[in-house]
Structures are given as structure tokens and as C-alpha cells.
């Protein structure tokens, strides 16, 4: 009998490893790419809700009200951020993203009563106009950071690090640094722009305290100040940021995306969003500010269940980056030939750094950008956010809650030992908590 040939694959030298070695052999440097970590990590999928049956009663899934209002920045700011939903849009720069993409994110956020966030390129005037609530990032680069735009902001986010690259900076390749982008960043046109990994004018948490006071003085103590960090030594970092005076903590797990950085950072640095969230909540509780200092969690959040589980574990809100880009068409199976030109396929594209985004999102090329009409992109993102809100409300009602913020740890169990250990939740069907029982 003729047997079909069975191809053997080495578990050490997988096709991906072979390709990576050969690519480095050709380039003579590490690989740079966009998107986020490819590796599999314990995530919210490894948790499930214990909804209601006899011991608790559900709310009517299609009729009864379930509140989603969210307040961020209640500690010191005279004007806290009032959001209609507990989902915000994360900082993604004009430069990394096209003009159309930034404007669409702003408009979609406005439709849903939530905030969007500037990014490394400063405040794009059209983005300010499109966004009813805009968070202005103070990044290590200080590109486009100025007192005039500061006064137009609804909150300030001091970026210490990013989940995709904690401890590292980004790289906006020259093909994306066109005249407008270069002008906003005070850079020569067409040069590869490095985003620094640390702030120019402060180094440690004691300095950060003074920096936060400076920003408050410049904005008359009106708007909240968030501190955003990539998740590494979460407990210590959260406590220090709180001590420095942060109104809110934005914590970005290793599943977070990026426009461009070393692949090694994405795969080998930071910790996943799930344990980062649990540790951050514990840190806030240990120093007695849980509820006073709000927590926004981000990094690979994609669905209503992800959001609901994050809220149940103690987050006040979540922040979405890559998922909103996917909603507007990232990796969509259209313009197939252009994916092929990049050496990739739809659903596998992570070439944000090249500036040749086939669907017009992560590009500064005018022709490519036309493939992303603002109105259409706005509708897609708004629909996506709306669907997430409906999913969170459905899960909350099924748990018997009339407010999504009433979801609690008791509503969850873990499906795997790893998730049980990281989330400190019982393994489903048992009283066993990995590492604690």
C-alpha cells in the first residue's frame, strides 16, 4: 500500500525559528515588526463566569437596565473623566496610524461617549475636533507636546512604558515620517524616528511626583493625570505611581500591540495582562487606595467577555488598541496582492512598521489611506464598541448585576492551573486555588 509521505518537524527548529535565523543572517540585526506578541499566554479566555441559577437571580437579558457609566480620575482632578462605557481607546500615534484612522477612532469614541488617546505624534487638530474626550499623552519623546495642546486635553497620560516593549522605545521608520509627521515631531523628514525609552527630564518616582505637580500646575489641577506602564514589576510600579500622585493607573500587559519594535521585546518581555491586572488590584488594596485611584487595563483585550472579566477582577475600565484597528479592517482579506507584496497574507499581517498597510490604517501613503474612508471606519469601530458593551451587559445581567462595575471575583473560576495560579481563582468545579490551597 502506498503511504503518503509524513513530514517531520523539529520542535526546536520549527519553520518559524528557521525563518527567524535566516532572516537575521540576511539582515545582520534583530527583527522589527508591528502588532504584538504571537506567543500563547494565559489570558481571560482561561476564565469563565459562574452566572446565576438558583442561589442568585439573573436580570432580564434584553430589557432590564444595566449601567455602564465609568468615572476615571476622581482622586485630585476637578474634572474627572466621565465615560459612558468602561472601554477606552488606547494611545496610537498619528504617524504610526494614518490621518483617517485617527479621525475615525476619535469619532467612534465620541459616538460611544468614551475617550480616545493621542500618541507619540502629539495632538492632531482633527483628532481633537473628532474626540469629545481626548487623553493627551506625555511621552518620553515629547514629540508635539506643548502647553497650548495641554490646555485642550481632557486628561493627561504620562507614558512610562508600553506592554509590547516595556523598557524599550519604538521605531517609526523613515517611510512613515512624511512632511506632516516630521513637522509635528520637529524632525528631519524621512529619517527613522526613535522613540526614547525614558523621559528626558525625570528619572525616578520622586522626580515623577514633581513632574506630575508641574503638569497639574500647567492645567490648574482641573484634569486627571494617568500613569501608563508596561506590566513588569507590577506591584512596586503601581505603588510608586500612586505615591507620585497618579489619579489613575493604565497598565498594559505583554499582549499589547505596537507600530514597530524589536520582535524580541514583544515575545520575551513583560507579563500577560491577566496576572498584571490581579497584581495591580492587590497593590492598590495593599496601600488602601483601591477605588480611589482607578485602574485601566490594556493588552490584547478583544471581546465583551475579556472586558467583563477584567472588570470582575477589579479593573475600572479597559483600553483597546489593536482590536479597534482590526475592527476598521486591519488584516481584512481585501487587496490581496498588496499583502503578497509584503510577503504575507490577510490574517497574518504584522507589517505596520513598513508604512505599506494594504488597508490604509498604518500608513502615511495618501493612496493607501484612501482605502480607509473615515465614515466607514467610524461605523465599524463604533459598531464593534457597541457590541462589546452589549456583551458586557449580557454577562453582567446573567450574573445578576444592574451595573457592570458590580461584577466581582466571586463571579469567576479558572479553567486551567496556570490561570488559577495567576488569577488566584478556584479551578472550575473545585475549591482548589493553584499555589494557595
Amino acid at each position: 500500500m502506498e503511504r503518503e509521505q509524513v513530514l517531520k518537524t523539529s520542535s526546536t527548529y520549527t519553520p518559524e525559528v528557521i525563518a527567524a535565523i535566516q532572516e537575521r543572517a540576511e539582515l545582520g540585526r534583530y527583527m522589527i515588526r508591528g502588532y504584538g506578541a504571537f506567543r500563547n499566554v494565559p489570558r481571560f479566555d482561561d476564565l469563565v463566569f459562574l452566572t446565576t441559577s438558583l442561589t442568585r437571580l439573573p436580570l432580564e437579558g434584553y430589557r432590564e437596565k444595566c449601567t455602564t457609566k465609568t468615572l476615571i480620575g476622581t482622586r485630585y482632578a476637578q474634572r474627572p473623566m466621565e465615560l459612558d462605557i468602561p472601554i477606552t481607546i488606547a494611545g496610537m500615534s498619528f504617524g504610526a496610524l494614518s490621518y483617517n484612522a485617527k479621525v475615525a477612532l476619535g469619532r467612534a469614541a465620541t459616538l460611544l461617549g468614551t475617550s480616545t488617546t493621542t500618541g507619540d505624534g502629539g495632538m492632531l487638530p482633527a483628532e481633537r475636533e473628532a474626540s469629545s474626550k481626548l487623553v493627551y499623552q506625555c511621552l518620553p519623546s515629547r514629540y508635539g507636546f506643548n502647553p497650548t495642546d495641554l490646555k485642550k486635553a481632557d486628561a493627561i497620560e504620562i507614558v512610562v512604558g508600553q506592554g509590547a516593549k516595556p523598557g524599550g522605545g519604538g521605531l517609526l521608520l523613515g517611510q512613515k515620517v512624511n512632511k506632516v509627521v516630521a513637522g509635528m515631531r520637529t524632525l528631519p523628514e524621512g529619517v527613522d524616528q526613535r522613540s526614547p525609552c525614558r523621559h528626558p527630564d525625570w528619572i525616578g518616582p520622586d522626580d515623577l511626583r514633581i513632574k506630575i505637580e508641574e503638569l497639574r500646575e500647567a492645567t490648574d489641577w482641573e484634569i486627571p493625570i494617568y500613569v501608563k506602564m508596561g506590566a513588569t514589576r507590577v506591584k512596586d510600579d503601581v505603588k510608586l505611581a500612586v505615591k507620585a500622585g497618579a489619579d489613575a493607573i493604565v497598565l498594559d500587559g505583554m499582549e499589547g500591540g505596537t507600530a514597530a519594535t524589536q520582535s524580541i521585546f514583544q515575545e520575551h518581555t513583560g507579563i500577560p495582562t491577566l496576572p498584571a491586572l490581579v497584581q495591580a488590584v492587590e497593590a492598590l488594596q495593599e496601600i488602601g487606595v483601591y477605588g480611589e485611584v482607578q485602574l485601566i487595563i490594556s493588552g490584547g483585550i478583544r471581546s465583551g467577555p475579556d472586558v467583563a472579566k477584567a472588570l470582575a477582577l477589579g479593573a475600572d475600565a479597559v483600553s483597546l488598541g489593536t482590536a479597534t484597528l482590526i475592527a476598521m479592517g486591519c488584516n481584512k482579506p481585501v487587496y490581496i496582492e498588496d499583502y503578497h507584496k509584503l510577503g504575507t497574507e490577510p490574517y497574518h499581517c504584522h507589517h505596520c512598521h513598513t508604512g505599506m498597510c494594504p488597508v490604509g490604517i498604518t500608513t502615511q501613503d495618501a493612496e493607501l489611506m484612501q482605502r480607509l474612508p473615515v465614515d466607514e471606519a467610524t461605523t465599524y469601530v463604533a459598531n464593534y464598541l457597541q457590541s462589546l458593551v452589549m456583551e458586557i451587559q449580557s454577562l453582567a445581567r446573567a450574573c445578576g448585576k444592574s451595573n457592570v462595575h458590580n461584577l466581582e471575583r466571586e463571579d469567576l473560576v479558572a479553567l486551567t492551573l496556570e490561570a488559577s495560579a495567576m488569577a488566584k481563582l478556584p479551578l472550575a468545579g473545585t475549591d482548589f486555588i493553584m499555589g494557595q490551597s
Binding site: R142, D201, A218
Partner: protein, 233 residues
């Protein structure tokens, strides 16, 4: 409370919070008061921060971090030493320090002029984005790190790694340069450079000709991330 005497408004900082001092400065600027004098600053941080209306502020004594930060259209004179990041993200106007400045003087400053009539510490002019910074003494290590635009004039010596990772702009050093950082290079001085120095320094009663100025600019070797660049950094 502030006290107004002919031609001069005084604020004694002794019993005021930083918030109260800055509120008074902003109120006086909005009332078009031309000059104000701050007494007893006592090294306090964040003085004259975020002021965007035209006013001249004289500070009688030492100040802490971020003096004049995130401000525009203002003139500040400090009769004392400064802490970190004086004139951080400054947009326009003048800051003159009759003393020494600590680290990060004029960090990310985008416009205007910041004069240190003494020495400046490490990382002076870090991430400079268009302002002019003049230091009549020495500057510390890592000065002009990641400078993007603007001009730095140092009459004294510069510490190690001057202009590391610079993108653009120009640095003049009248004394010795300990070492240059990645992607910085010396370029011969030309007549226009000497004219610029004479123009900037004569205001301070300094003659550029008394110094052996050297010019540092970007070598542009690291403008594009390439495989064989590693030896440059």
C-alpha cells in the same frame, strides 16, 4: 498676599503654596501687570509653570525643578541657582539664570532663549526642539542628548557623550569636549557661525573671539536603521 508698589509687584513666597503663587502669577499676567518680583522662593519646585501670557518675573533666590516649564511669552530672571529642567518645554520668551543650573536645563524646549550665567549639569539641552540655550560655564555629560532642533552655546567645557543620538541643530563649545556621542561630528566653523555667536554673546558682554569655539552637528550616519551601524553606537 501680593503687594503692589509703583512699577513693581512683589510676592513673598514664604507662606504661600506653589499653587497660590502660580495662580497669582497667572492672574497678574491676565491683568497685564508687566513685572513681578518673587521673594523667598527657597528652592521651591514648579514656580512660574504653565504661564502663557506676557509677563516679566524676577525671582530673588534659588528655585527647584521645572522653573518656567511649559510656559510661553514670558521673561524670567532667577537670581540664584536652579534645580532640574529649568525651562522644560519652554515655547517662547527668555529665562536668564544668574547662577548655576542642575541637570536637564532647557529639556525639550521648543523656542525662546534660556541663558545660564554659570554652569549647567548633566544632559543640558536634552531633547532640545528649537530653543536656544546659552551656558557661560561648563555643561555636564550627555548634554544635547537626542537634540532635534535649536542651538546650544557653551562657553566652557562639555562633558562626555556630547550630542549623543542628535537628529539636528547645532552646538558650539568654547572649551574642551570630553567626547562626542553616537552620530555627532565636528564641523569647521564658518563666518556665519562666528557672527551668530558674536550676536548671541555680545548681549551678555562676552566676546566670542575670546574662545576657541568648535561646532558640533549631526553626522547623519544613524538616520536610517541599517545592519552595519552597530559600531557607531
Amino acid at each position: 498676599m501680593h503687594q503692589t508698589i509703583p512699577q513693581q509687584t512683589l510676592i513673598d513666597c514664604t507662606n504661600l503654596t506653589t499653587r497660590e503663587i502660580n495662580q497669582k502669577l497667572k492672574a497678574l499676567a491676565s491683568e497685564s501687570i508687566p513685572t513681578v518680583k518673587l521673594l523667598n522662593p527657597a528652592g521651591r519646585h514648579n514656580l512660574a509653570v504653565g504661564i502663557t501670557q506676557n509677563i516679566a518675573i524676577s525671582i530673588e533666590g534659588p528655585v527647584g525643578y521645572y522653573c518656567g516649564g511649559l510656559s510661553e511669552n514670558i521673561n524670567i530672571e532667577v537670581f540664584g541657582d536652579c534645580g532640574w529642567s529649568v525651562g522644560e518645554n519652554f515655547m517662547s520668551g527668555n529665562i536668564t539664570i544668574h547662577g548655576n543650573a542642575s541637570a536637564n536645563a532647557a529639556a525639550s524646549a521648543q523656542g525662546g532663549k534660556i541663558c545660564v550665567l554659570g554652569h549647567a549639569g548633566a544632559r543640558a539641552g536634552i531633547s532640545l526642539k528649537g530653543a536656544t540655550i546659552i551656558v557661560t560655564g561648563n555643561v555636564g555629560y550627555g548634554s544635547a542628548f537626542m537634540m532635534q532642533q535649536g542651538c546650544m552655546i557653551v562657553c566652557g567645557n562639555a562633558g562626555a557623550n556630547l550630542a549623543d543620538s542628535i537628529y539636528d541643530g547645532v552646538i558650539f563649545v568654547g572649551g574642551e569636549i570630553n567626547s562626542l556621542g553616537a552620530d555627532a561630528k565636528l564641523e569647521p566653523m564658518n563666518n556665519a557661525d562666528w557672527q551668530l555667536l558674536e550676536q548671541e554673546l555680545s548681549i551678555l558682554n562676552i566676546s566670542a573671539k575670546n574662545y576657541n569655539f568648535k561646532k558640533v552637528i549631526c553626522a547623519k550616519q544613524l538616520y536610517h536603521f541599517k545592519a552595519k551601524d552597530w559600531a557607531n553606537y
